[in-house]
Symmetry: D3
Subunit: 271 residues, 6 copies
Amino acid sequence: MFYHDDELQFEVEVEDPDPRYAKMLQQALGGQEGEMRVALQYMFQAFAIPKEKNEVRQFLMETATEELGHIEMIATAISKNLQNASDEARREARESDPMIAEMMRSGQPRQALSAGLHAMPVDANGNPFTGNFVVASGNLAADMYANVMAESTGRLLATRLYEMTDDPGMEQMWEYNIARDTMHQNQWHAALEDLGEHRPVPNSFDQSKENQEYNYTFMSTYKDERDDPKQPWTSGESPDGKSEFTYTPRQPGGGQPDLDEMIDEMYNEVN
Amino acid sequence: MFYHDDELQFEVEVEDPDPRYAKMLQQALGGQEGEMRVALQYMFQAFAIPKEKNEVRQFLMETATEELGHIEMIATAISKNLQNASDEARREARESDPMIAEMMRSGQPRQALSAGLHAMPVDANGNPFTGNFVVASGNLAADMYANVMAESTGRLLATRLYEMTDDPGMEQMWEYNIARDTMHQNQWHAALEDLGEHRPVPNSFDQSKENQEYNYTFMSTYKDERDDPKQPWTSGESPDGKSEFTYTPRQPGGGQPDLDEMIDEMYNEVN
Amino acid sequence: MFYHDDELQFEVEVEDPDPRYAKMLQQALGGQEGEMRVALQYMFQAFAIPKEKNEVRQFLMETATEELGHIEMIATAISKNLQNASDEARREARESDPMIAEMMRSGQPRQALSAGLHAMPVDANGNPFTGNFVVASGNLAADMYANVMAESTGRLLATRLYEMTDDPGMEQMWEYNIARDTMHQNQWHAALEDLGEHRPVPNSFDQSKENQEYNYTFMSTYKDERDDPKQPWTSGESPDGKSEFTYTPRQPGGGQPDLDEMIDEMYNEVN
Amino acid sequence: MFYHDDELQFEVEVEDPDPRYAKMLQQALGGQEGEMRVALQYMFQAFAIPKEKNEVRQFLMETATEELGHIEMIATAISKNLQNASDEARREARESDPMIAEMMRSGQPRQALSAGLHAMPVDANGNPFTGNFVVASGNLAADMYANVMAESTGRLLATRLYEMTDDPGMEQMWEYNIARDTMHQNQWHAALEDLGEHRPVPNSFDQSKENQEYNYTFMSTYKDERDDPKQPWTSGESPDGKSEFTYTPRQPGGGQPDLDEMIDEMYNEVN
Amino acid sequence: MFYHDDELQFEVEVEDPDPRYAKMLQQALGGQEGEMRVALQYMFQAFAIPKEKNEVRQFLMETATEELGHIEMIATAISKNLQNASDEARREARESDPMIAEMMRSGQPRQALSAGLHAMPVDANGNPFTGNFVVASGNLAADMYANVMAESTGRLLATRLYEMTDDPGMEQMWEYNIARDTMHQNQWHAALEDLGEHRPVPNSFDQSKENQEYNYTFMSTYKDERDDPKQPWTSGESPDGKSEFTYTPRQPGGGQPDLDEMIDEMYNEVN
Amino acid sequence: MFYHDDELQFEVEVEDPDPRYAKMLQQALGGQEGEMRVALQYMFQAFAIPKEKNEVRQFLMETATEELGHIEMIATAISKNLQNASDEARREARESDPMIAEMMRSGQPRQALSAGLHAMPVDANGNPFTGNFVVASGNLAADMYANVMAESTGRLLATRLYEMTDDPGMEQMWEYNIARDTMHQNQWHAALEDLGEHRPVPNSFDQSKENQEYNYTFMSTYKDERDDPKQPWTSGESPDGKSEFTYTPRQPGGGQPDLDEMIDEMYNEVN
């Protein structure tokens, strides 16, 4: 069960509100690299953990819960950036309210039209959050890689947003959030290490069933045949420790696709 | 530039067509773990590589091109599973064509209604492919983790689909495709190793700017304070090799959010 | 059956075309609070009315038909705002056509690229209209509340758009449309009153089947137990007139979720 | 900030797992009438409340937090319905695992293919949850009507799902959840009553600016002129108490739309 | 302005209700080839017609209005197919209501869960209608080709649906609707003929600005160079009457893409 | 199978990078009229061609392959327009990097936030590419009309984009691409001519089954009865050569829809 108290996880202050930055912050809220995604992703992963592994369920759920707190922080930051226009903004807008003037120019005026100058569950392009962002596969190793990826692109987003503001409050918030992304990246890597041998994912599939001719060779698709470029992915031991990379300059060839015509009731005229 | 020839990359035969399996195969075509996603993901990643790293562009583009060939294979497999119903299917359907009877029952009848019993750019639930599936961040390490994740969930999907068929042709196709997923997982790991120290991603961000109090500590969000559970993510060296994990049983606390009322023109009545 | 004539429902004039306002108007056309939504919502609700209640079907369908006329008005307003740039816009754009210059800046350049400077079935953020906006539940009371909500957010949008223009023609159009929203809000409330006792929705569900311990109590989810805040939702008669509100400072507690492991064919490795 | 503990809000037991019911339950999780929607809707509404009205923020946030607990319950119910097939299901499926056989028939096989037989953030049709479901307008009265509507359609969904199961555990869960929906419907109505005069929404818009000729009249759009049908929405006092309904059998008429041709650079050939 | 009366455009009777057919009919309502699409497509095209061409606006709008009537017909057909289960369906379902049993099996149970066994604005796969289906380009010739295409795939869908039913009422409805599709296909072709020389679209673009080397040649992308296959698209006069087709067995070649590295603030590490 | 080499199909140079133009170019990449759509559309159409018509499969696949090359060109053009800001842009932005300043203003800042100033699979409004754009019906004539439409709106988009740039490199790229669109429009028309009599689509449906009273008449939906407007679509031979157009000033009339009430388990209260 979930609980709440009145405190933000960490302070969110904005000295000089900037509606353009409010738009950018939406990516960290409802975007593919945002807090709604990781909160729900870790939560759905936790929902699939069997009772024998309750410590993993707790691990995922505690982090999901922290990300819920980040949703709250970013939403607060967005509202504060939409609240009081700076003097410069006022001068620029002159004839009308500067917030409204900015919304007229904005790529996502729905912050004003639909939300009354507040946060929305959308990304910086103005697209709605979608359940497609959430990856919870039922396989813990696959999920951990999904989480490493989510925190890598998430921290990348945070550093880019950090570069786009000079506001001391916003900088402080990002210094905190980037630190948390550092922790989260590391903790998912720690979980992967704790899993021991898990590659290739899924590791429980009997690898002797794989086609043994093509499972460790780089097959070139370059138009003309080329020599082995001697890259780390064409020779040397494979990272899963189970074989050696080789290089194949051509394709196996599977014959032409040979479809019959479909039943008449489809009215598929092809001539 | 791209080129094509008449051969499939590998043989696609179906002995006993099964329209239900045709529906399942859509996940491997237009789904989040499917071939359209990886083909386009590796392609968009390649599009962002600067000219100094042409060998990386080629690496990504050659694999993208192979995945285009997998799109062709899976689409062929779908059409072949929709082509001639088995005797058993005919008996079951009796009064009408068994394919049409099955489409009437199906969760995605558009294979018949919109495509005349052929493959579509949708997933197994019948949802259209979306550009949201494609991750290309501009940062190579983040992209490589996205690719490891894509090939992990992709190989997981392939093994699940392998378990759902007894058709010898389909089994052979999956033995091949699972082998390729093994290779691709390994090659992206090899590229990550080749990058050297790259964690936390992005590595070029000056870590001294991070909040140093919260970047390597697991902060519990459990309702009541609990002791350190002594897990691999609460103590020991962090996987990036830069610090030690600690455990914090409580939250920093950022004060209450304190928003002012918005401008009158928004008609935000809150009392 | 539907019919059409050449007249708009009400005049649509634009003295000083403004492409930014054309973008804002899209919310009132293809947005969640827009005319396409209500036209289709009332129409689909009407489609579900049994023959015994033909006067309700007519009521819904007549209003749906009026909203079709509003689609026509707003689309005309958008085209007119994209038609002739004002002198000020010309001065600002100088080197190129001011409409094209504005489209280059715009958050939804598809008004030019895809529609040749005309209206599109999208919202102000540029997202396509979706059938998800349409609520038609088969239950008339639930539908009426959906309509009250649609007209409340719709009138709110209209007042916000009214504040964002100084064009006399646009102001006059909104004065008319806001008036119609007033009427529509009132008419759905009148229909709710006419239904008599209908709460809680659905009213025909035998309420004695509900869990009688938790159906009229506010259960606090605050982290720490708190005293009854004595709000209108923690004490006093419940608005459906069937009970008294109480306050419960803690959660019932349902035990830990206890999932078994899934079948092997899923390859769900969790350790 | 949010917190979590290991308990479900209320017990979730399944005696006789049924994968078809697992599919239906998705509507109560990721669907338009589901728990993800209300949890996020109340949360985003809370994010927009100014500091003067902290008791309203708490009210919204406490209920949002409860709905997070319902997400956890429904997700558990879905996994449990996918876990152990009943004897009847085993007999029906004979040759293969009954869960896999059912997934092959299912309208949303991604529960197996993508989630390893677990819950996903999608609805019963298999469509992903979308941020479009979340309504948070910045205006409290409009938000309360959105909440009444959400709980009305939500309780309607719950009663329909209640009728579709005979499992004692599932029935008990719904008896609890329907009770909570009764409470939530009532609490939002109580908040509306507490607001006092608030209609038409938004109430702060100066109604004298509305077009006074058309704000309380039902204008028929029936093809041929008809007499006043004497319905509660064509005569009598309007529910906002501000006027009397009248009936107008014809349309005001706004003249023909009169667009000019667009600039040449659009290549809009119309003849 | 639009109007409505109580009659359907054409009779809709169902002798033997079939919920599976109700699912299929959704494609003709909310699908890419369905009535909502053409109604809105012709309407948005009409919205863009300048006043000089009022007869074209009327032509488009009258057909849009007819398609609104088709929405009404198909929605009625769906409700009627969900209304009374046949005896056979009752026998099959035995223990429970046959409609509910079928909804439990269905690929789109939301017809029951969300709409109370009525039509919804979704397609046969259960995906919501989207504004993306609507094509209105501002260029009349392009629009007419979009309409020919819409009526071609629409009539194809209708013939497929015709083959999937034996119900006399449904057959009669399709015989009517297929006839209307025949008319609509023909009328858009007639409009194209009336436009005179209009190819290539847009015809007003000065063709001398095109690259004259590559505008009428088929450039092979086959992996290995091949001889001219002597097809109607590699030789002979081009259909626009302006040139002769030629065949080019190889690609022009544009050099390697040569991107510089991006600014540091993006944290695009590529090595 | 597909192949690739290092060359672009045609040169892509940008003299004066313009981030606003980079946004516009997204429509030609991930938009409804863009290269991803046609590449995948022709590919999926090819996937459905039976073995007897291999020359058609090749025709479609070779053009699909060329469009893959156009994806590569447009993506390169986007990156180059985001790479080095012009002097003017630098002056305008003054205090910060001009690219970042522009992204703050942009309608799709995700080019920076998510892609590090590179191309994305989205359109100019910032919406993701969707499989819905791809039309492959299984019927060749319907597909050819879909292709004519795609190349008509595609060439229209290209001419509009051509007008929005003065950059010599970009102009040269469009002169090439517009030429290819001219060829592609013509080649699909040539294929239609080669099909011979194919109208109305699908032509194999026995037209004597159509309702013979309504298949060649324009039925007016104008509110009041009007005389035959004597347009090319109300009289004269129909373009399919099979009948004469007539004009019907009124509707057939299908009686009122007469639905029964639904089963009690739906809780559809309508009074």
